[in-house]
């Protein structure tokens, strides 16, 4: 029908633009109780005594439970699902029992008739704490005097991981003409999806069934963990629903304490129960992102050939291991350190350390922005030090388009790409040469104009299940898809993927409409309800189109095959003579298009079962579990222009040019929206965002007053282009589109700022590049306006 490839307007939009969405926080049920959680104000403290008497006495309070109550009531610890070799996993309970290990660690829960009363009662709980020393910095965790976050994990080191060929790497450095060294911090971020997390649970005593509504990116995964680890209600009596979810960006992948507490309370008091996070609560309980301390070196030849890279990283895991935490700084970080480049001598090593901070896990990009940031900063500094244009040095080192599939020295095999064409398109869209001449003119006038480049790659669409297993995942990473054709020819599509803004109800309908030759209006996509969909893995890692979409293609193929059988039988022709006409939605006999059966008639025939080929089952419904053969490898060239106000140090983003290769595109409008949103989040990290803990472990950026999210006026209009090198290993030829913008934009903007400051000989500043930080650095080097230094690319 030709839907795939066109910017079909989203079918889900009418409910959102009219205020009729079904977010978890909107659920109201008769008899519902409301939960509020008492949280530790200390980053590290022994819990000596909890007195709940006054809280329980407050009118309207139904019950108060502590961590011990949950433990006695059968709650198991929250598991970590990604176990690298020799990992030491700390025990984590939904409400902590012995110690609070970060500000916000839950201690008790109040159950009340109304949320205001619940909040009042929380204040009446009296906890006596014995404050302990804290450790915040990922690298200081191993120092002798550092306190232990968990008594049974020595040196606060949960795991270590390394990849690469050390000998080849060492040799590259021995033979290098030039070595670039860089110490950097990739700061802590707070994801801040606009919908705060929420959970509602309804226990039915008579049937012993539990329904849990949770704002999650993967309800089926949550159901499994609830069932097997934390709540221990058998899966067939447990239904988990994630209806409309207001953004996730990774932070809603994980199994959170409140998903255990809310259903447990519902069962304990035998009433529906509801918990909704406040924003401030989200800031101290949602898993956070990034937080790496890294020491890196790059080896080069004097002509700019990159030959080696040596990276050591301390990754801050926070106080506990969140559900997928160990994956992020290992298999999604070190494996990506080759970038778009041919270099062989790479060695990456890391330590995952525990601190008295909120747990860290995947946040949009997850490991890949950290890899891109350090790699592309090093390349830029190298270009500067070797007086080579930053575009030129990158192009010189690119993997060629004929070298795919390309085996990197870091386990991954890149599927497809054309990095030269990518950069050609970006530099011509930006008119890069003119940008540089204009920059020279601006500099001559004392202006601090900077141009930033990034060339990035990511691994998306996780993942071949066996590979995921070998890297530490306790599950598989396939996806499920059902195509259910009803007797009248209308279609319900069930997917294990989950949409929390990505528009699957539209794109998946586009895919199936084209596969079957039916109008999109005849298709409904269902996701997010374990009571309706088959087991599936959910949405993260930019996997929905390539893995979830491919599962639907497979199911549609099976539907077509069955319809061909039925049509052949009824038209008395051989199966191999039948043609499935996807444009018209009918099956006809090759050479005689008038001998045909329309889709709806065949669907009906499959259900009446009056005249089916012998041995063929009635009905028309197919399921597929698609396990991808590889990741997909989207890539990007971003070019940014900024100007710094020398009086204030403030950065103005003047141009943003982005060319991405996300393979084939199902809906260009939606893909462009993903890129735009991704860019904004990445720019947020470069310029404004940072989760700041003081030395006592207090989060100083615990609300939107202190944590600076980008606003509409922060951005110019984005200039967006695209090239398409289809992924050869999935039937749609798609690659991930959800994270590329974020992965590429952080370092592009950071490079632009440092380019602007290069005439002042400021080599590197850690993000976020706030006015204060830039201004202070400028003061150190003296008068900005008069400084002039020769710099690359300016002729």
């Amino acid at each position: 029908m030709g839907y795939v490839g066109s910017s079909v307007k989203r079918v889900e939009d009418p409910r959102f633009i009219q205020g009729k969405a079904s977010y978890v926080g909107n659920i109201i049920m008769p008899g519902m109780v409301h939960l509020a959680i008492k949280r530790s104000p200390y980053a590290h403290a022994k819990i000596k005594k909890i007195n709940t008497k006054k809280a329980k006495a407050l009118p309207g309070v139904v019950a108060v439970f502590t961590g011990q109550d949950l433990l006695d009531g059968g709650c198991g610890p929250l598991p970590c699902g990604w176990n690298v070799p020799d990992i030491k996993t700390p025990t984590r309970y939904a409400l902590t029992v012995d110690k609070a290990r970060h500000v916000g660690d839950g201690v008790a829960v109040v159950v009340a008739e109304d949320p205001y009363i619940a909040a009042d009662a929380v204040e009446l709980i009296d906890v006596s704490y014995q404050p302990l020393d804290v450790v915040i910095d990922a690298r200081k965790t191993t120092e002798l005097e550092a306190p232990l976050v968990h008594d049974d994990i020595s040196e606060n080191t949960s795991y270590e991981w390394a990849l690469g060929d050390k000998a080849v790497c060492d040799k590259a450095f021995e033979e290098a003409d030039h070595i670039v060294e860089l110490d950097l911090t990739n700061q802590r971020l707070i994801p801040n999806a606009m919908e705060p997390r929420a959970c509602v649970a309804q226990w039915t005593d008579t049937t012993e069934e539990m329904i849990v509504w949770t704002a999650s990116q993967n309800p089926q995964l949550i159901r499994l963990l609830l069932s097997a680890y934390t709540l221990l209600i058998p899966e067939h009596r447990l239904r988990v629903i994630s209806p409309d979810v207001g953004g996730g960006f990774g932070s809603k992948i994980f199994h959170y304490p409140e998903e255990v507490i809310t259903p447990w309370v519902s069962r304990a008091v035998n009433r529906p129960a509801k918990w909704v996070a406040t924003r401030s609560e989200a800031s101290i309980t949602d898993s956070q992102g990034r937080d790496h301390i890294t020491v890196a070196r790059m080896a080069l030849k004097k002509d700019g050939e990159i030959t080696g890279l040596h990276v050591s990283t301390w990754a801050n895991m926070g106080a506990y291991l969140s559900t997928l935490a160990p994956l992020i700084p290992t298999a999604l970080y070190i494996t990506l350190l080759a970038g778009l480049y041919r270099m062989k001598g790479i060695w990456g090593e890391m330590w995952g350390t525990l601190t008295n901070t909120v747990p860290v896990d995947a946040y949009r990009g997850a490991g890949r922005p950290e890899a891109s940031y350090l790699l592309e900063r090093l390349v830029d500094i190298a270009a500067h030090e070797l007086s080579i244009d930053p575009v030129e040095i990158r192009v010189k080192n690119f993997i060629g388009k004929d070298e795919f599939p390309y085996q990197t020295p870091l386990a991954f095999e890149y599927d497809s790409g054309d990095y030269h064409a990518l950069f050609e398109k970006a530099t011509s869209l930006a008119d890069y040469a003119k940008m540089r001449t204009d920059q020279t003119d601006a500099r001559d006038n004392g202006r601090l104009v900077g141009i930033g480049i990034s060339g990035c790659i990511e691994a998306s669409g996780p993942a071949p299940s066996a590979v995921a297993g070998s890297l530490g995942f306790a599950l598989g990473l396939w996806e499920s898809g059902v195509v259910r054709v009803h007797p009248t020819g209308k279609v319900t599509v069930l997917t294990g993927s989950h949409s929390h803004g990505q528009g699957h109800e539209t794109t998946f309908a586009q895919i199936v409409a084209d596969e079957l030759g039916v109008p999109m209006t005849d298709i409904e996509v269902v996701h997010g309800d374990s009571g309706r969909i088959p087991f599936g893995m959910g949405t993260y890692g930019s996997r929905s189109a390539s893995v979830g979409g491919s599962a639907l293609v497979k199911s549609a193929e099976k539907i077509r095959a069955k319809l061909i059988k039925i049509a052949a039988h009824q038209l008395e022709a051989a199966e191999e003579d039948m043609v499935y006409d996807r444009a018209e939605g009918k099956v006809y006999v090759k050479g005689s298009p008038d001998k045909s059966k329309p889709f709806a008639e065949l669907a009906f025939a499959s259900y009446t079962a009056h005249n089916l080929p012998e041995g063929l089952d009635p009905g028309l419904e197919e399921i597929s579990f698609y396990d991808p053969a590889n990741f997909t490898f989207p890539n990007s060239a971003h070019i940014v222009q900024i100007e710094i106000d020398p009086e204030t140090g403030e950065v103005e983003l003047q141009r943003y040019v982005a060319v991405d290769d996300v393979g084939n595109v199902i809906n260009p409008m939606i893909v462009e929206g993903q890129i735009q949103g991704g860019i904004a989040q990445g720019v947020g990290q470069a310029l404004w965002e940072q989760g700041v803990y003081d030395e006592s472990g207090q989060l100083l950026t615990g609300s939107l007053m202190e944590y600076a999210l980008p606003r509409a006026a922060s951005f110019p209009k984005f200039e967006i282009g695209r090239i398409e090198t289809p992924s050869p290993h999935n039937p749609l030829g798609v690659k991930g589109a959800g994270e590329m913008g974020t992965i590429a934009s952080t370092v592009a903007v950071a490079n632009a700022v440092m380019d602007a400051l290069a005439p002042l000989n400021i080599r590197h500043l850690d993000m976020p590049l706030t006015p204060d930080k830039i201004w202070s650095a400028m003061q150190k080097v003296g008068e900005a306006k008069t400084a002039k230094v020769e710099y690359f690319g300016g002729e």
Binding site: D13, Q18, K20, A21, S22, Y116, H527, Q676, A712, A713
Partner: protein, 167 residues
Amino acid sequence: MTMPVSITVNGTETSHEVEPRLLLVHYLRDVIGLTGTNVGCDTSQCGSCTVLIDGLAVKSCTVLAVQGDGSDITTIEGLAKNGELHPIQQAFWDNHGLQCGFCTPGMIITATEILKKNKKATEQDVRHGLEGNICRCTGYENIVKSIVAAQSVAPAKKAGKAKKGTA
């Protein structure tokens, strides 16, 4: 202690006894069940909760229900008339002005005020007019595009039937 309030919401009069501390946004969501207005923060930063009070865009998390006594409020549910989308709603749909949709009610309500104050709002006017509204999904580009485009949307298109969620 409770106090009586009477508030006209989307043309319908509502009267309830409420606690004096009840926020207007909770009155709308929990007392009268209009959950289209969202709560995204607790410091009046995000604008998800924006409604029109006597024609002015106000963050309903910063107002007590009792302060709204006697006022006339329009929420996102009250914008479409007779099954026809408001031109700004239509423009958000046409221009992919939303992803997860959580900020969208607040954005659309704020946009009505931006366009009321400025008959020929430019891209820059709109960007500055949205300073009290946060979107984490879209990067704002298509929100800005939608609002600028709304100025030329004829206000007479059929509303799409709201598809219910998967709950």
